[in-house]
């Protein structure tokens, strides 16, 4: 139980938690705006991770141009996704939409394999590999980068959604679509913007997490599921909940893997999920407004 190990676990936990938070945020935004659970959200992390990795490693692009193009690319893809997989099914019950997003997830996975090949890629890091030493504690600089960028994103998110008119219109669409239409807000545009934004959040996550793990076509699946767990733990539908849920899950996962069992590392997210669902189904920040008749 020494301090150095604990601190390292905390940092890596927060870093992984940041990734979960970003992806969970994407989930929740899409769910609030369109009422859809996007089972392909994890693939929206995998695809930009691949894309950026290839641009950096094979085509030797600079970091900034590579990341920028990746983000724009995944944003465009998010728009296409909205038009193809969501829009035609928007009035159906949730099952066809879920299956449709699952279909997209499979499509993206195998599409990535087709385009990028089966070899896992380890993208070039934007920060030095040598760990930062604080006394005895060794911190991976990439973790610091992840945390920093995530916080920057969250700040941007807050400003965008709370302080701009467009952001407020997006909130309105998520809270009451019909009323928004009555106020002349074009909800199909709002929803499209939400999808693009969520995709870009996934893009940021993908760019950040690539250098830590090898980028493979399967990395999205588990990541997406854990992010979904985070969103539920925090109270599905709540934006701050998704963020806090992500951080919480990341930290708990790191600690559990170290102290309890590293073989079952991937299972902890689900165990926590099932516990939360059974005992606090509203999550920590769930519906403030109580259910009415």
């Amino acid at each position: 139980m020494d301090f150095a190990t604990n601190f390292q676990l905390l940092v890596s936990g927060l870093a992984m938690g940041s990734i979960y938070a970003l992806v969970a945020l994407g989930f929740v935004l899409i769910n609030n705006a369109a009422g859809v659970v996007n089972f392909a959200q994890g693939e929206f992390v995998m695809l930009p991770a691949f894309f950026a990795a290839v641009l950096l490693n094979e085509y030797k692009w600079g970091f900034l141009p590579a990341y920028l193009v990746t983000l724009i690319g995944i944003g465009v893809f998010g728009y296409i996704f909205e038009r193809v997989a969501y829009y035609p099914l928007r009035n159906r019950t949730f099952l066809p939409v879920i299956i449709s997003t699952i279909g997209v997830s499979i499509f993206m996975k195998n599409g990535a394999q087709l385009v990028f090949g089966t070899e896992p890629i380890n993208p070039i890091r934007p920060v030095p590999s040598a760990p930062i030493m604080i006394g005895e504690v060794a911190i991976d600089p990439q973790f610091v980068l992840i945390l920093g960028v995530t916080i920057a994103c969250l700040v941007f998110q807050y400003i965008f959604f709370e302080k701009t008119t467009l952001g407020r219109k997006l909130q309105a669409t998520a809270q009451d679509k019909e009323m928004s239409r009555l106020l002349g807000i074009r909800i199909s545009v709002m929803i499209a913007i939400t999808f693009i934004y969520s995709s870009m959040l996934g893009g940021v996550a993908g760019i950040l997490v690539g250098p830590i793990f090898y980028v493979t076509k399967d990395m999205g699946g588990l990541l997406g599921l854990k992010a979904f767990c985070s969103a539920i733990v925090g109270g599905f539908g709540s934006v701050p909940g998704a963020i806090l849920g992500g951080f919480l899950l990341g930290v708990i996962e790191q600690y559990s893997a170290y102290y309890i069992s590293s073989a079952y590392r991937d299972g902890f997210a689900f165990i926590i999920l099932i516990l939360v669902l059974l005992f606090w189904p509203m999550g920590f920040f769930g519906e403030k407004v109580s259910e009415k008749a």
Binding site: V37, V84, A85, P88, L89, R92, F94, L95, P96, I98, I99, S100, I102, G103, V104, S105, I106, F107, K109, N110, G111, Q113, L114, G221, L225, F228, C229, I232, F236, A263, Y264, D266, G267, A269, F270, I271, L273, I274, L277, L278, P281, V289, S290, E291, K292, A293
Partner: protein, 627 residues
Amino acid sequence: MATTSATITQKRTGISGLTWVGLAVLIVILLAVPQFIKSTYWIQLLNLSMIFGLCALGLNFTLGYAGQISLATAAFWGIGAYTSTLLTTRYLPLMGVPPTWGAWIGMLAAIIVCAIFGAILGFPTLKLRGHYLAMATIGFGFIVQLFLVNAQSFTGGSDGIPAIPSYTLFGYTFKKEGEAFYLILALTVLLCFIAYRIKNSRTGRAFLAVRENEMAAEALGVDTTGYKVLAFSLSAVYAGIAGCMFAHTGSHYISPDTFSFDQSVMILAMLVLGGSGTILGPMVGGFLLTLLPEWLRFLRDAYMAVNAAAIILIMIFMPTGIVGLITLLWNRYVRPPETFDAETKTEISHEARVRFLSALEAKAAQTAAAARDGYILEIQNLAKHFGGLKAVDGVDMKVRRGAIHALIGPNGSGKTTILNMLSGLYVPTYGKITFKGEEVTGKRPHLIAARGVGRTFQNIRLFGDLTVLENVMIGDHHRGKANLFEAILRTPAQRAEEKKIRDNAFAMLEFVGLAHLANAQAKSLPYGRQRVLELARALVTNPDLLLLDEPAAGLNPAETEELVELLYDIVDRGITILLVEHDMNLVMGISEDITVLNFGKKIAEGDPATVESNTEVIEAYLGREED
């Protein structure tokens, strides 16, 4: 009778004679298959199709019938496979049981283990819905797979377990693919048949009721949680049997990565593509999605992507799946179903009336025997708070046996909330509800319904996809006793009970004038007829107290008149009516006692004349005279 001239469509239930013949022909053809297809590769694929089809068929119980999403099918497939394998290869030989019939014991064990685990997984359904439930099932699947990989000494870990023995029967070993084909085919046909039996039984109807409208099902006495857990168990058992088939045939080898989340997704896709809610659908889906990748193999690396794209397209254009599409085309071009004219109305035959009324004679006698001046329902200081909102704020009310009692008040005064507490859909924040002398505060809805409380809903809650007759038959659910096994075996007792339920339901339809629409699809009925159907369904539960939530809403004067006649007949036979209504004419005209609510509190009560002249009531509800 002023109704629209919209046509009402019949819904085909059951399998017609033609279809049985078709199925028989199909089975004969299938039996001949191994004679013509000699390639073991393709036979193995056919075997796999059936195995996956069985998984999807099982999933049908949870998803197609009970309407719950489960993405853990592959986990049960794996649990079944591993249970049977471990027993057959490791533990049974230790006990001296030869693998020849060890495999059958293995299957039995797999069924039991899967049933238990399925029930365990079903329990979260108590609190979870929709994608929360889906997530819990995904989590379950992941944990199972992790366990299979990591508990190496027990499960063999990622190396898997090879050399699994085949099934033997009467000295015949089903080792080769062609031989296993017959065994798998036989099991498939058997399990399909069992599914068919279940679907057309009381249990099957309960499943459908849960899917169509859970709240209404509870209010009719269906233990919805129990049935959801049962659905999960059944799904698990089917997948488990499929797992046994998988382990003891083909490559005779299992390993954890086969039983993955992706596989569960594939099985779900098979069900949906084939046609959820049907029996042939999952088999067709299993066949297609197992063989499609093979046919698309020429696309090599792109085939999965194309596969996925195909799934999306089918979801967009064919939501009822392939079997659904075929049925649609069949109904449109080959044999259009009957349509009914909404205008006509069956004459209520005198015999039907007598039959119905005499069925209630017993109730009337029973009620007369009870205390004449008794109160059938008493609520004391009843309250329901939703966070800060006090929907009902301490209400006392007594309802006399055999009376027509109205509960009125402006919108938002708490009327429907009280009804919901009375039928058990809401748990009161505080207060006491006493029904027939027994306290029922906070009891589950289906238990309250079983004690004799029937209800209708403000926004009609019919089982839309089911027929008119089926809707009423579900009303009789809690008086039926046949369980799952009796249904599968069609014991004489079960058959007699089914007949009785059907006859009761039909008699009820005759009584309310809907008999000619018995096979019509409930949601295609005009509004007024739907209201009558909901009332008939509530009546057939044989209630002592009938809770009616705005029964006259949306009815024209002629229909309202018919409703009133019905209500008087009901009350004549000893059933008490508690009525929430806005139609003042109706309320003042037929009620004996009235309770008036405003903002969750009682502000007046008494007979119509008293209430009507009460100034507070006039102010709050009818509108004040102000100059």
